[in-house]
């Protein structure tokens, strides 16, 4: 083959021949992929519906599922919490100064929503939703964008009938044409402009992160030492600095949990006295079946269990309703545990 290639290089035929199927070398490596394996991994859904499994889900079911699985980050009405993505709203803002890009205002294909919810959501619990649940949540997201009515049921049958408002809002990369003037023959080298005036300064805006100072580094090391102490001697009162650090980390928990004097149940139970007691014991809170089961099995919120639960709630209580993705940082978990212990 190489001989043949050498022969034609330099002739006008090269480009035509290169487009023909290559006579590739086979190495005989790897093994055949089994149908079950392909089915397990090949789950992408294309805009024309290729790959979409049979199933259906209603806006009504989707509202409940969204509240349980998605609202902690995306808000009850898909309006977004803090910096987490907003999934609804923004209609007509794409040509504004600060466009709001949501499923309703921006996403061109419904397949993308279904595919992404199916494979990657909820955050920290990917692929835990059934096919029908994904249809229901997708239907609810459409509803939250006023694209369907509250009695709508989305299915593989009517999937392609849904019109996405910004479907026609995209063009294929045209930089070669629209920016052809950036390919300039010879850029200016001398007397390119008369004056240079500062029009904007980053220091005035002042949003650059500060590096860690020595004092902060020392404080961090002390916290780490206190956390290690807590692990080896969990009976002692928590270190005040660790409790203070935990209070900061607990802000992530506080949208669902209250603690301290006057704490009441919200999305999650109030957490006074939780450390050391049996799971699922906050009076008057309607626990999920997963937590109830753990309670029946005698699970105790000791240091090790709390630590594992805070790292990955679903790993400890798989059917629990806490849709928090977990605290990756051991320091953060130790700090929160210290903070919780402070209210025992």
């Amino acid at each position: 083959m190489s001989k043949f290639r050498d022969l034609v290089i330099g002739t006008a035929l090269v480009s035509t021949l290169a487009a023909a199927p290559a006579l590739a070398q086979q190495f005989g490596l790897g093994r055949a992929a089994l149908p079950e394996e392909i089915a397990a991994w090949d789950m992408d859904v294309a805009p024309d519906g290729t790959g979409l499994p049979a199933g259906s889900g209603s806006v009504e079911d989707g509202e409940m599922l969204f509240s349980e699985n998605c609202a902690v980050c995306h808000g009850e009405f898909a309006e977004g919490v803090d910096n987490w993505p907003k999934l609804a709203g923004g209609d007509g803002t794409l040509d504004h100064d600060d466009p709001l890009k949501t499923v309703g205002s921006y996403w061109p294909y419904l397949s993308t929503v279904w595919d992404y919810v199916h494979r990657s959501m909820p955050f920290g619990g990917a692929q835990s939703l059934s096919t029908d649940e994904v249809y229901a949540i997708t239907a609810y997201i459409l509803y939250s964008n006023y694209l369907v009515d509250d009695d709508f049921v989305l299915s593989n049958e009517n999937f392609l009938d849904v019109e996405m408002p910004n479907a026609g809002g995209f063009i294929v990369d045209d930089r070669d044409q629209s920016e052809a003037h950036f390919w300039t023959a010879e850029p200016c080298m001398e007397n390119c402009k008369d004056t240079v005036e500062i029009t904007m300064r980053a220091a005035v805006l002042d949003v650059t992160p500060e590096e860690v100072s020595e004092a902060e580094a020392t404080a961090k090391a002390e916290l780490k030492a206190a956390a290690e102490k807590q692990q080896t001697a969990p009976i002692a009162m928590p270190d005040p600095a660790l409790v203070a650090a935990g209070e900061r980390v607990f802000r992530q928990c506080s949208s669902c949990h209250q603690i301290g004097e006057g704490a009441v149940h919200r999305v999650g139970p109030q957490l006074n006295g939780v450390v050391g007691r049996q799971v699922g014991q906050a009076e008057g809170f309607n626990y999920s079946p997963g937590v109830k089961k753990a309670a029946e099995e005698g699970m105790i919120w000791d240091h090790a269990t709390l630590d594992a639960y805070l790292e990955s709630p679903r790993a400890v209580i798989p059917k629990g309703r806490m849709s928090f993705q977990g605290l990756r940082s051991e320091e953060d978990r130790e700090a929160v545990i210290a903070y919780l212990r402070n209210y025992n």
Partner: protein, 423 residues
């Protein structure tokens, strides 16, 4: 902090000390005679008398503590959490072109997972004659290539579309790294499976929860895309996709799928989340460009820069920076010290390499007056890096991605530098 014999472990401490010394030298002008003998020379120092660490003190070496400020940094307000987030390479403190893995920027969509080689599987399926599964050990048996490529996040400099925001080259331009990859051409694996004539695209995805799927035209997949398992000679770091990632030369970093687990040959683009709701560029009229894969030619002066001020006063000064293009090699870099009134051709440390970082230098004799430093890259296709004004004229302010406009550092007479925009 004033005791100069004590090494400072923080950058700010170092800068303060350096600026103080620089000021003193500056007052004296050119090289001056020492006022009194230097105790570092006249007194026997502990390191010249006692013993250092033995071998194996650190079985895998880390930078010495005095370099502890040369680290990746995150901009907290950018993202909701650090699991789906990005940090920045400390390009202001590096030289040469190869980025050490340990400080090369990270971008995760669902966190950096830990996947053992033994548990690694790569599936090739879709429009192929033989859907195949490869283990890591299988991949090691295919003929391998070594190539140096830059990987730039499409959002690099994205915070600067509306004006100067972040004060440091690390933050404005640090979503980039440049490594030597060892791996198997994707073409080899696709040919092993046999691509059917109707196959026009490949859809690639990772093994993490986000999967980060992207569609790539078959033409590119059969051209220079690598299935890489080593970077800079050693295993990929977990944060860069250990044990196997995709390398898509010249194209936006999001397509360099980490923990690569599947390549599907398809007739069409899948239009995943990462190629519709993200990594598309909204223009002023509200329409958006999609499939903007190639990274335009771009450059930045890494020193002097806000995190790397001039500490030595007037006299010889090394101005240096990085340039790159997703369309080919860098052929020339121009540098201006007067905000673009006049330009000089900088010296390339070596001939520009295809889709890899180039290091440039301009060695000047600084007179101590303020400077507006700019650099302008030109690539092998004749593309000239535009000004931010030129870019905004075409794209408006809402593109987020692909901001390759010319950066300006304002260096004042004290040698301090700031990110500014100028007329």
């Amino acid at each position: 902090m004033t005791d100069q014999s004590q090494p400072s472990t923080t950058r700010r401490g170092f800068l303060k000390a350096g600026l103080a010394t620089g000021g003193a030298i500056a007052a004296g002008g050119a090289a001056q005679a020492a006022q009194e003998p230097d105790p570092l020379i006249t007194e026997i120092q502990p390191w010249a008398q006692g013993l250092g660490d033995g071998v194996d003190a650190t079985p895998y070496g880390l930078p010495i503590e005095y370099e502890s400020d040369v680290i990746r940094r995150n901009v907290e307000w950018l993202t909701a959490d650090t699991i789906s987030s990005i940090n920045f390479t400390p390009i202001h403190a590096l030289d040469g072109t190869i980025t050490p893995q340990g400080c090369a920027f990270e971008r995760h969509h669902s966190g950096a997972i830990e996947l053992r080689k033994e548990d690694y599987r790569l599936m090739i399926n879709g429009l192929v004659d033989r859907p195949l599964i490869f283990t890591y050990a299988d991949l090691e048996r295919f003929p391998r290539e070594n190539r140096v490529y830059f990987c730039e996040c499409a959002a690099n400099s994205g915070m600067e579309w509306a004006g100067a925001q972040l004060n440091g080259a690390q933050f404005t331009h640090g979503m980039i790294h440049n490594m030597e990859y060892s791996g198997v051409p994707l073409r080899t694996l696709l040919e092993e499976a046999g691509v059917k004539p109707e196959g026009k695209w490949v859809y690639v995805e990772g093994a993490d929860a986000s999967s980060n799927g992207r569609s790539i035209p078959l033409e590119k997949a059969m051209d220079d895309v690598l299935v890489a398992f080593k970077a800079n000679g050693e295993a990929l770091r977990k944060e860069h996709g250990y044990p196997v990632r995709l390398v898509v030369p010249g194209w936006e970093g999001n397509m360099w799928v980490k923990w690569l687990r599947r390549v599907e040959v398809t007739t069409q683009a899948i239009e995943s989340r990462e190629e519709t709701s993200k990594y598309t560029d909204t223009l002023a009229d509200g329409t958006s460009r999609k499939w903007t894969w190639v990274m335009d030619a771009k450059s930045v002066i890494t020193s002097p820069s806000p995190q790397s001020p001039v500490t030595h006063g007037p006299g010889p000064l090394v101005i240096t920076g990085l340039a790159w293009s997703g369309r080919g090699a860098i052929t020339r870099v121009d540098v201006s010290i007067d905000g673009g009134k006049t330009w000089q051709i900088a010296r390339l440390a070596q001939e520009g390499q295809d889709k890899a970082l180039s290091r440039f230098y301009l060695d000047i004799n600084w007179d101590g007056s303020e400077m507006f430093l700019q650099s302008r890259a030109i690539d092998s296709t004749g593309y000239v890096q535009p000004t931010k004004t030129q870019l905004r004229e075409v794209r408006g302010l809402n593109s987020i991605y692909h901001n390759n406009g010319i950066q300006t550092w304002w260096v004042n007479a004290n040698g301090e530098a700031e990110n500014v925009e100028i007329s």
